[in-house]
Symmetry: C2
Subunit: 189 residues, 2 copies
């Protein structure tokens, strides 16, 4: 399946667009490729785009003053990623996004998204639905972080995304769970 079909199938679950409408919608997306380790967004940058992942895996993360990293999101195929705070509020990025593997994305600018949302009710509907999903997932993660210990959060994460176990080094999983790599390692013993 090529990137156009991937996006079409993804959108089709929520919004009904004619083929012509979808072609028009798709014309606003710019394909981009990145190599493993490359940076997509750096803290301090102006943020113009959001990214729809076609293949590979990215991480959106925050580095604090003590150079500790916290991962907000692993972005996998058919997921969207960006620094949404910076994107919507027209400020500079506070997080970084880079590539855990080689990556292909479709890039959509903030202004084009808003234009498309205004032009097509169905597209606005799609983006409402998408953010809803994200909001609910984020609330669940918040609750899990407060309520569950490391072991339980780790099991939960692997149950939800089994691919991560082999795809992503353990210290990144630790950074997602909010614990040190040593603590994560000791869970196995």
């Amino acid at each position: 399946m090529n990137s156009k079909e991937t996006l079409q199938q993804h959108i089709g679950k929520t919004a009904s667009l004619t083929d012509e409408q979808f072609d028009y919608f798709f014309s606003y997306f710019k394909p981009q490729s990145f190599k493993k380790g490359q940076t997509v967004i750096s803290a301090g940058d102006k943020v113009d785009c959001e990214y729809f992942v076609i293949s590979g895996c990215l991480k959106a993360f925050f580095i604090n003053d003590e150079i500790k990293m916290y991962i907000l999101q692993f972005a996998m195929p058919t997921w969207w990623t960006s620094d949404y705070d910076a994107l919507y509020n027209q400020t500079t990025a506070t997080i970084d996004i880079d590539c855990i593997t080689d990556v292909e994305v479709l890039c959509l600018s903030n202004s084009d998204r808003e234009k498309l949302c205004k032009e097509f009710h169905q597209i606005e509907h799609f983006f409402r639905w998408r953010t809803n999903k994200g909001y609910i997932a984020s609330q669940k993660r918040l609750l899990s972080l407060m309520n569950n210990n490391t072991k339980k959060r780790y099991d939960e994460l692997l149950a939800l995304y089994p691919q991560l176990y082999n795809l992503v080094p353990k210290h990144l999983i630790a950074a997602y769970l909010g614990v040190s790599r040593e603590t994560l390692s000791r869970l196995n013993s």
Copy 2:
């Protein structure tokens, strides 16, 4: 300002509706009053509505097996609250919502919201924008929970919502921060 004006001003920041359109929109909201301590949503219930707060303060919280409470949200005037997971996915509530003070809300059913979103592009636009704000705030709180210690999270919360200090008991603030009430109390010493 009455509840209708409150909602109109709130919506007006994001969506442009004619007075007639707004009247129609408003006709779907049912006013409800609750006394301090009353329950709005109980875990296990079917969830049909979301609530727009006119006056007072509510808490949305989760109680775990060890009877420990975690507060997901304090809902104050012009905020929206519900169990959105249950509401959107048509499942039963996993959280409770009750009233910290006497409360007035406007109640909107899930099906009416969807109907209104379908009928008026501007209303769909409003709800997309609202969820966006919520999503961004939720991501920020997640990061703060991982990155900051209790003292810093407490200061952050009070800087953002100074009213809370006098409005809600300290053990509820502790439940929002995800620490014990004793730990919160010891921050002052």
